[in-house]
Point group: C2
Chain length 341, copies 2
DNA sequence: CTGTTAGCGCTTTCAC
DNA sequence: GTGAAAGCGCTAACAG
């Protein structure tokens, strides 16, 4: 039988209350007593039963998700996954709330975080906007003891406990290799459609993409990046225009959102030529385009996994417990038309 | 506050014991009383606190994993993941045991299952051997109330509750498309290395592979399947021999295990020619081969995910709870050298 | 058939 | 500083 608080109380010759105080590092225990209890804990190999503790405490983990107020399919899906997590709240002892902030607006994000530092939730998950002032307040909150995980877009160089998202440099590299291999010996130009070069994940994807292209596919030339602001209309215009003007384009890499517009442009302008296209994020639109051969491969991050992972990690950090690293790694999913879920 | 057993006892005008009997569908409750309690449960929207129940019961979930005694890298990794799960047992209230049975031996599997039906574990996870007698006993056990999930290799047409493994037809199709696209306009022959056509997952991969090849890549001819019995030595011999004899081979699909031998053969015989190679399962050997360009892509199933998923599903089924379907779907991982974990 | 009571492992008053 | 005792939500004897 696993040792319980009773066992260590007996072994240390103290009461349950004292054991509990030591276990939860509460004050009011003499140094020697604390030592005795800690010794007993170690000797008996005590492992705390978190479920029982939570039952006694009536604990619920209050978690906050901070999301940008952008309305592309991916963010919509992310929201849906958070709602699913909220439905599971009773069973998981969570109390999840989302806060929307204007996209790409560090100041707004900072003020929300400032607000939260007063409210003291058990954990914060945030789609990070990569700016020094955000890093600063995140570091301050982490130092103050808040568990924080970044979601989808990371805040490198900060003290955030965990990043629940894909490796975007690897994603860009993978896109380059797929495109290069699919195109084979052909020479030509590659159009790149991004949302904005101000966002870290887009910059990283581009960085990975261009480096593999340069190293391994010298016959392919990358054209200047089209910034579609993750907006279908703008994306449509930019891509349609590029295809009309440049007959040398043989491949497209869409590393941001707004693929609805991209797909429309492809259908209008590329009926008569063979284009190889790689895009990010599996949505109803990209799925249909993959199936009808408008898109050749989709790189995806599983929003459901990201949300579940963020919740698990925040709960674990709140309790000072370890996470299963492999379980929390967000894979880069590669979908061809044959392995769609 | 969530309603508790006390609330429904009060609402129904009965005692805690009676509520508990209804909740756990134990006998000894008059029909009318049961109705009253069930009404109260429904009206108050009662949700049982599984953690508290397990605490009171002192419950541990005894789970058995039945694995084939084959010693390829994949099975070795699967075993390692089960050991990891065993390490987590205290926290997860599980008691996990593995049983090895001779590979591809339906009779042995049946007798182990027969044995288990007496021992009554809370759940069984098994790498299924696809045979009618196995299906029969699995169905019998499921009818008798045992939660059963198949692992890695499914038992279609049986009543097993769940399959924790990849869609192997999709895997074969994906391999075909990758190979076809990577080879581009080239014409030539494709060697296929399998373990054994007696195993369902290998048959399915081949089926998916050949169908996409036939539909979409008519310039590529599939050679008769080489059956390497998942053995590196045999695989080496077969592949080396095929490459020596046939200069028309431009691609290889290895859909089983024993890739160590395949890789050796490729390094010996294919230095002077450009071969495109797709293999299954990420191991130390295939990873190295991917990095040095001997292999072009690896299709993988995440053994860790499979084991964790099997445990979660078995626990849920033992409690009659729902699972999160998306979480339990085992993805087909596609690894290029750029997105290795 | 139904109710009373003790207790799972842990936390939390409130005394001492 | 420390301990005794009650209680979290649920289950399991054991009475009646």
């Amino acid at each position: 039988m696993r040792p319980t608080v009773h066992d260590i109380a007996a072994a240390a010759g103290v009461s349950l209350a004292t054991v509990d105080r030591v276990l939860n590092q509460r004050p009011g225990v003499r140094h020697v007593t604390r030592e005795k209890v800690e010794a007993a804990i170690r000797e008996l190999g005590y492992i705390r039963d978190v479920a029982a503790a939570n039952l006694a405490k009536g604990r619920t983990y209050s978690l906050v998700f901070i999301l940008p107020a952008s309305d592309n399919s991916f963010m919509y899906g992310l929201n849906a996954e958070i709602r699913q997590a909220i439905l599971r709240s009773p069973a998981e002892r969570t109390d999840i709330r989302t806060i929307e902030v204007p996209a790409f607006d560090p100041a707004a994000l900072v003020s929300v975080l400032e607000e939260l530092s007063r409210e003291k939730p058990c954990g914060i998950a945030m789609v990070a906007t990569d700016a020094p002032e955000v890093r600063a307040i995140v570091d301050r909150l982490v130092r103050a003891g808040f568990p924080i995980v970044t979601l989808v877009s990371d805040l490198t160089g900060s003290l955030r406990h965990h990043y629940a998202g894909v490796d975007n440099i690897a994603a860009g590299r993978t896109a380059a290799r797929l495109l290069g291999r699919f195109l084979g010996p052909r020479k030509g130009e590659i159009a790149v459609l991004a949302g904005s070069m101000l966002v870290r994940d887009h910059r990283e994807r581009l960085e990975g993409f261009t480096s593999v292209m340069a190293e391994e596919f010298p016959d392919l030339t990358i054209l200047p990046v089209l910034e579609g602001r993750d907006d279908p209309e703008i994306a449509h215009m930019l891509v349609a225009d590029a295809l009309s003007r440049n007959a040398g384009i043989i491949g497209v890499y869409s590393l941001g959102a707004g693929n609805r517009g991209l797909i429309r442009a492809l259908k209008e302008k590329a009926v008569d030529r063979t284009l190889t296209v790689i895009a990010h994020e599996l949505t109803a639109h990209t799925r249909a385009a993959l199936l009808d051969h408008t898109i050749d491969a989709i790189l995806n991050q599983d929003a459901g996994h990201e949300v579940r992972s963020a919740v698990r990690v925040l709960k674990a950090k709140a309790d000072g417990l370890a996470v299963i690293e492999a379980q929390e790694r967000i894979r880069l999913d590669i979908f061809l038309k044959d392995n769609l879920p």
